[in-house]
Subunit: 192 residues, 2 copies
């Protein structure tokens, strides 16, 4: 049996930085097709391409028995009245759970069953540990005025299935209406 | 496929309370045989039986694909010059990792290979996410003056093997010498 060595990474509760870590960045152009208001997306992108979110991964073998962990930082912002969100995904190894432990900010976590017939939305706030059970797709949304920062833990061999979400979207959207955060059905959602 | 429902638990960063959760408590009498100074243990227990640590578990099925999570609160204290610690364990499903994400306090995380020949000690401090790789036994130690609070994530079907540690102990101990935290070899350690 080959022993993998213990190690620390350090998470900054204020900025979400994880050190040492490997960062990926997602700009509006990367996830533009998920937003409801296509005209507003075009108008924003004509002027700028805002950074929507970053994920910073600790380096762990993508093998059975290991746990992957990362921080996610979703910046505050909207396209029209729709809050910034992550692309969202299912796990390739579908029946594996994930946990989002929120460190800062205010959010919503949209989860759907593989066929999209079941959908649940949890609130995210400092100290909330949200349990994404096996098989649920998941997308998080920043509904506040500061970065939404959370620490994520999942099976290191779970893999990411983004293709399904590319086709279906999520059954619900999170919008601002009259200064309130509201969850509504997504008119563009397609059954898997 | 039976769908398990998403849920939130809430972690208090200051107290370590996890709600709703199931708490277990460990008093000095429960772990007395691990301390080096047997006379000092007797002397303390003749007067009181201090609470050494608490673990508060979120309720999750102990099944493959699920992630267990809990908070651990180790109270500040010593027996002689040896800092309070958790009992420590291996996983029954040995080759499964665990993560300790420290929220408050100062600690040390002692880890050993199954045969005890390899031992590593990591520092725990607010923001440290300590990776306990598959197969390493693990014990945490509060070396500060306030509670050491950390959030733990592990495979829900990993199980706990306390019996091995009961027999062997850990290869290292964490002591205070002249106001400094020192790590020394455990003279009572027995090879597995």
């Amino acid at each position: 049996m080959k022993l993998f060595r213990p190690f620390n990474v350090v998470v900054d509760f204020e900025t979400g930085n994880l050190t040492p870590g490997k960062k990926i960045t997602r700009y509006l152009s990367d996830i533009q097709h998920f937003f409801l208001d296509k005209e507003k997306v075009k108008a924003v992108l004509a002027k700028e391409n805002p950074l929507v979110y970053e994920v910073i991964y600790a380096e762990v073998p993508e093998e059975p028995g290991h746990l992957a962990h990362c921080t996610t930082i979703i910046y505050p912002g909207k396209v029209g009245n729709e809050f910034f969100f992550t692309k969202g995904h299912l796990h390739e190894k579908l029946e594996t759970a994930e946990i989002y432990f929120t460190l800062k900010g205010q959010g919503r976590l949209i989860m759907a069953s593989p066929d999209g017939e079941e959908c649940e939305v949890l609130e995210m706030f400092p100290g909330s540990a949200s349990y994404i059970p096996p098989s649920w797709s998941h997308r998080s949304v920043n509904v506040g005025g500061e970065p939404l920062i959370f620490y994520c833990i999942f099976f290191a061999d779970a893999g990411h299935d983004y293709a399904t979400i590319d086709k279906t979207g999520f059954p619900k959207v999170v919008l601002e209406r009259n200064g309130e955060v509201v969850v509504e059905n997504n008119p563009n959602w397609k059954k898997a």
